[in-house]
């Protein structure tokens, strides 16, 4: 639990330092086709974020606790792409994704709380939506 908490704290502080809790920065990155100027900041966050992980996957074949890496699902299917389209739309509408929403939950005002509650409701609703659409 200590490692999970340390990881969560470092993740949250990294999101804060990198400016990803500022929805203008995120929507500025997504404004590649306009409106207005393009803000490349998010590309540097993702690029830098990949470096420790690119090393982590390769320095050892298994985690310290536990037998193996988590399973990697295979195949690019409709749920993957459809889900990514819906997520991208919501991401663009407000400029928040799950990590930054949680990182700003206690200080970002009622707006962040409402977004996060709606996000949790969406997560819980998915199994029911699946049942209806089947």
């Amino acid at each position: 639990m200590l490692v999970s908490a340390l990881s969560g704290a470092l993740f949250g502080l990294g999101l804060l330092v990198s400016g990803m809790t500022d929805t203008d920065r995120v929507q500025g990155f997504l404004a590649l086709l306009g409106p207005g100027a393009w803000d490349p900041t998010l590309a540097f966050v993702m690029g830098a974020g990949l470096i420790p992980m690119a090393v982590a996957w390769r320095i050892t074949g298994k985690p310290l606790l536990g037998p193996a890496w988590p399973a990697a699902p295979r195949g690019i299917d409709a749920p993957l792409l459809g889900g990514a389209v819906l997520f991208g739309m919501g991401w663009g509408l407000v400029g928040l994704c799950p990590g930054p929403a949680l990182a700003a939950l206690f200080w970002g005002g009622a707006e962040v709380v409402v977004f996060t509650l709606a996000m949790a409701a969406g997560m819980l609703a998915l199994p029911y939506l699946r049942r209806i659409t089947r």
Binding site: L10, T41, P52, G92, A121, M123
Partner: protein, 140 residues
């Protein structure tokens, strides 16, 4: 596109913050063998389909708690978030449904999946960035 917004200070903070985010993901992977995906860790906790709920709770509490302490100590940064409630609810629902259906978000697919060279994550990241770009374009 109407020019590029270059802000050296923001780029340096982005790189430092990015290394912290990647470091957090590497720590969780190397020690616990878990994918640091915000939507997966939260979704699996609240819908009770995920394993190790206490690990998830510890991660999520620290993810929300640590920046709160930093903000209390250093002052409130701008979120510039919209106060349009319809937009907030619609976006939240889309992000919640989309990340669970698509098995991940910016951290899970973006940081963990891309660095693993997962074809699924490459497809997901390209798709959600494209959808985000079109949405921002249409929203104007």
């Amino acid at each position: 596109m109407d020019g590029i917004l270059w802000d050296l200070g923001a780029v340096i903070r982005a790189c430092i913050g990015g290394l912290m985010i990647g470091g957090a993901a590497a720590l969780l992977l190397l020690v616990n063998g878990r994918i640091m995906g915000a939507s997966g860790l939260l979704g699996g906790l609240i819908d009770r389909t995920g394993d190790a709920p206490r690990e998830r709770l510890a991660f999520l509490a620290a993810l929300a708690g640590a920046p709160t302490l930093a903000v209390l100590a250093l002052g409130l940064p701008a979120t510039n978030i919209t106060s349009n409630w319809v937009l907030l609810v619609a976006a939240g629902l889309l992000v919640g449904i989309g990340t669970r259906l698509g098995s991940g978000c910016t951290s899970g697919h973006g940081i963990c999946g891309l660095s693993r060279l997962s074809p699924r994550s490459f497809a997901a990241v390209l798709t959600f960035i494209a959808a985000g770009i079109l949405t921002v374009r249409v929203l104007g």
